[in-house]
Symmetry: C2
Subunit: 269 residues, 2 copies
């Protein structure tokens, strides 16, 4: 998917909501556990109920890998289902991968070709030749971790490196990478005040903002500092939406939560 197509969908749906599909079998409705593939059954129900309210879905691969082959199959079924039924949706493999050159190419193939995701999250620690292999894939997007929403972000990301904090150095250096126009960035919403400075460095890039909801971010604040002329934001909510209820009508309850956020967002589109 091109960035223009994503922006067009955002305007059409009046939403820049991304829903995180972080499926934990201990948290999904009990009646789904008797399904042959409870993870996929859960995702399918959530997707069918919420696809008109969001522009992106983001399965975090950890939740699938934790269930081994069964989990990997559920992830595969989920992305196939999304691409077949809702091709207008932007898909994010939240995998936080990154390795030396030829190995990053393997990861890129895994997520862009084998699973056919539109984008994948990548960790920046190993630098240029760990990121550029992902950027070689046309109409695919590499979402680089810049400033994450967890407490551990203060261990290294906010440390001073020359004139900048490390996460700003990541933004600046990555802009010099080949095909850097395919980069997006993860910026945690718990630090909305940082967004103004981030926008000075990368005014045009899309930001994937986790942490609105369960991790304590605030939509108004994030929009105030993070919006650009092409919206430029994907705001993720996972647990706050998908685990709205464990009852029979869990998908409808999830849709109500998503709709509340979409309505709030529509004021900014």
């Amino acid at each position: 998917m091109t960035t223009a197509q994503l922006v067009s969908e955002i305007k059409k749906k009046q939403s820049f909501l991304c829903i995180g599909l972080d499926v934990d079998l201990n948290k999904i409705p009990e009646h789904l556990l008797k399904e042959e593939d409870p993870i996929f059954a859960f995702n399918k129900a959530i997707i069918d109920a919420t696809h008109h309210l969001c522009v992106a879905y983001k399965p975090n691969t950890a939740f699938y890998e934790a269930y081994g082959i069964k989990g990997w199959k559920a992830l595969e079924k989920t992305i196939i289902y999304l691409n077949k039924n809702y091709p207008e949706i932007f898909t994010i493999a939240d995998a936080k991968r990154g390795d030396i050159g030829n190995t990053s190419t393997m990861y890129a193939k895994a997520f862009f070709e084998d699973l056919a995701f539109d984008s994948v999250t990548v960790a920046p620690y190993m630098g240029k030749d760990s990121v550029e292999p992902f950027l070689e894939f046309k109409n695919k997007h590499t979402i680089l971790l810049a400033l994450t929403s967890n407490q551990g972000a203060f261990d290294f990301q906010t440390k001073q490196v020359g004139e900048n904090e490390l996460y700003k150095e990541v933004l600046k250096v990555s802009k010099t990478y080949k095909n850097s126009e395919s980069l997006m960035y993860v910026v945690g919403a718990t630090k909305a005040e940082y967004l103004a400075e981030i926008r000075e460095i990368i005014p045009d890039s899309f930001l994937l903002v986790p942490g609105v909801g369960a991790q304590g971010g605030n939509l108004q604040e994030v929009c105030k500092f993070g919006l650009n002329s092409q919206i430029g934001l994907l705001i993720n909510s996972s647990r706050g939406i998908i685990y709205a209820s464990r009852g029979e009508y869990f998908a409808e309850e999830a849709a109500l939560k998503a709709e509340a956020i979409q309505k709030e967002m529509s004021a900014f589109v």
Copy 2:
């Protein structure tokens, strides 16, 4: 596996060699491609031929994920085969994972419980609460990326952060993490001269050193600066061993390459 068990194996085998199982179907012997599971068939042959010459195997998960479910199954079969037939071998999932707290726990479960690896490589960028969930698992080891062997390492890892380069800051800060005695570190062999300074910060930790062989490191240099009283080194070679030959006797050829390294290593044990 405990560190003491690993050290004991190193002394017994007079080897601190780790063999990287980075299986690329374009590089393995053609006659294996007609096997039902060529990746596992290749690994099994390499393992059976080399297990007495090395103390660790390290599949890089990228090479398995690139083949989707089929790849994941081959990885699972490989670790099951290793744990059943060669339980004395230290196993490393080279996965370079890392995510916020509860999600890192999911990854830890995937590699330590579901796949029963002894260790997993982890990226440090997200800090303490992305690493500590891995450290909670008893007799499992978390191998943190410090200084990698690729060119991109100079983008961020060697940048000055206060008094230290970033990778030294990673070493120092990670020592304060809970259960940090279960940490090992990835240190690229292309920078052997850095090992002396690294040993000042972490004299007792095991170092996983990739890059001896295909990536251009030098065993003598690495030993000179990196050895400690408990050896404290695992030196990895992947392509240089496993792709020694594409002929019928590829496994025997691999064993010859491994034996040459083991013999060189025996002088240091």
